[in-house]
Subunit: 401 residues, 2 copies
């Protein structure tokens, strides 16, 4: 149990310890932090003293988490052990509590520079729902879907931290009469996802097997892949989504280290047909995260991450089997997380069934896609040790215009 007041029992207890980047009015330089309760512990300042192992201290003098992420699993484990000791042993309280900055006094920044951004499409329920809407007369899943984790590259330069306002994108779309129109998107949507962050890169030509997942992936962030469905529908043949996605992708402020989610490991769905050898997992597992999607403060869905057909370890293996190299800061999204029930669907495309079945909000209004001023916040919880619950914070954004 931590000596930090209020940390026990909350989403950011001693078993979570996610990393982020913050600044304050008094010191506007972005710097790494670890979250405990309602505080950010200033890691730059901690690393300026003798507590942390000397070889890791320089990484926390950087402007973001990149150097620490690149340091690899041994460093991640060592720092987590040291931070756990610091924050649980009362003897340290007097010396270090001045490094705790109240969370309502910090400005949070993007936690790492995004190298490449890849987005997958790995929920069977989501892909089936989309297939039913887009191709009502044929099999909802295309033939490749159960053979490989379908994915594509997105725009790394427009990955923004939670809270960044979301401009409604202009673009071409096909109107109801078939005419091509140009203007602001009328079908602005979200995709509730989990993002995985690469710490340790690879060389060109090196494939990463699924069982090496924890050697390369540093942690995870909540991710909202904002989508303009009308732009996407017109543009995406034959080379995939482009402007319908590239205007913004939001990520959470706090990167949860994979180790914090060891208690949340659970069985992943069985796969039929069996995947090719390069996608086969000796120890196949899912993370038992339950997402929560809130529109203007009202929860509209609770997507279950553990039911994703393709796991993050398989996604990593697929992404690299052709010899594509990884870099520190590579980010890959799970794809929209949707479960079998309507209450578990992670996009308004699904929740409103392509705009045909508006959802009703508590104030009596209805919603299909997002309107000006709408705020979407995606959160998640996961089981921690000893019956506790870890809360992954949230990724939020408000639509302007």
């Amino acid at each position: 149990m931590s000596w930090v007041e209020g940390a026990a029992g909350g989403p950011f207890g001693i078993h979570h310890l996610p990393y982020g980047v913050f600044s304050t009015a008094a010191d506007p330089h972005p710097r790494p932090a670890v979250r405990i309760g309602d505080f950010a512990l200033d890691l730059r300042e901690l690393a300026a003293g003798p507590f942390l192992l000397p070889w890791i201290r320089p990484a926390f003098g950087a402007l973001d988490l990149g150097e620490f992420m690149a340091a690899g699993p041994a460093a991640w484990r060592a720092v987590r052990l040291q931070l756990t000791e610091l924050l649980t042993d009362d003897h340290y309280a007097a010396e270090y509590e001045h490094l705790l900055v109240p969370i309502d006094e910090v400005t949070m920044h993007r936690p790492f520079a995004v190298a490449d951004f890849v987005d997958f499409y790995s929920s069977e329920h989501h892909a089936t729902n989309l297939g039913r809407m887009l191709r009502p007369d044929s099999e909802p899943l295309l033939p490749n879907w159960k053979r490989l984790p379908v994915g594509y590259h997105g725009r790394a330069g427009t990955v923004v931290p939670s809270g960044t306002p979301i401009h409604r994108p202009d673009g071409q779309s096909k109107g109801p009469d078939g005419a091509i129109e140009f203007g602001p998107s009328r079908r602005l949507d979200i995709e509730a996802e989990v993002g995985f962050v690469v710490g340790v890169g690879t060389e060109l030509g090196e494939a990463v097997a699924p069982d090496r997942f924890t050697d390369h992936v540093f942690g995870l962030v909540l991710l909202n892949d904002w989508s303009a469905r009308d732009l996407q529908a017109w543009e995406y043949q034959p080379l995939g989504p482009f402007l319908g996605k590239s205007f913004a992708t939001s990520i959470g402020h706090w990167v949860t280290p994979l180790e914090a989610l060891d208690p949340a490991r659970t069985d992943a769905p069985a796969q039929d047909p069996a995947p090719h050898d390069y996608l086969a997992e000796a120890d196949r597992f899912a993370y038992d995260l339950t997402l929560s999607v809130a529109l203007n403060g009202t929860e509209v869905a609770r997507p279950p991450f553990a039911q994703m057909y393709w796991t993050p370890a398989q996604q990593l293996a697929h992404m690299t089997v052709n010899g594509a190299s990884l870099r520190t800061g590579d980010l890959y999204g799970s794809g929209t997380v949707s479960g079998p029930e309507k209450s578990q669907w992670g996009s308004f495309q699904e929740l409103s069934w392509g705009g045909k079945e508006p959802i009703r909000l508590p104030d009596g209004s209805e919603r299909t896609f997002l309107e000006a001023g709408d705020t979407v916040a995606i959160g998640a919880t996961a089981p921690g040790p000893d019956g506790e619950t870890i809360g992954l914070g949230e990724v939020a954004g408000t639509v302007t215009g």
Copy 2:
């Protein structure tokens, strides 16, 4: 005329002056250079002295061209004027010729850090050829093709400099009997393209009109978008190319500033239907580059860049009309350059008509797709001032395995 011996009349004469990054055995630190004849002029060393304008000197102390690219059009013009003066006025020869490093003594590096990589698909002849092969029973061009420049994001982390060996990618593909196979690609191909390099970025929400092209784009490089056709054919529905492209994209060592190509401006093809306003150009022009594709030293195609249906200014306008921001180092490829004649097609997919019509090489052998040890070099020439010809160097790569 330049005082540098041998520069006149060659591809790297005084009217070209492309920028690159080099090192030498004696000084292995990568540093910016400008190319003149068979020499690299060391810009780091030049900037250490009094010749260049003081405010631009720090940019040439960087490890690549990024800082200079970010400095904007006024800086680009000023430096080009100063370098032209330096290299044409004989009075400077004695003082500065020791900064010329013979090109056969340098190691060339990737000239800039690639931020995001976007690849377009803007040759009508290429898109028509592909459409005929892939969808023989329908219109070769999809309905959106003449309405917008179709494009998608590629993998920035695997953009490599000319000369980097190309590993044949492993992946899934559909065999002739319909069974899904896994192994090395059997249809390894090239795409002969021209890449455009962004110098000056934008903020989120800011669209860049076509007539602001030269405010943002620093220059161009030759680009080979290596493609595994068999992997691509199986994976690309519905989200576009992924592993079939992400294993490697090669770019040339030398970035040609746009200004050097002013004499190469020519008419671009007329467009029907007229494009939407955001794609309309007050001064529509193409660059009259003739590409050359050589396989193991034999020229197999001469694709004409001026015939691309969508211009680089339109591509930039489309890419940003949804408010997606630009960053220094963003790279976008034209898409495969193909003309109307078979001798002008920029991929083996086209040259061998999907593998059905092998091309014959001078040694009597035949080729459909690339084999182990094959080297592909793509070059280009453009008209310079006074009847001279500018040569853009080459982007080359050899397939291993």
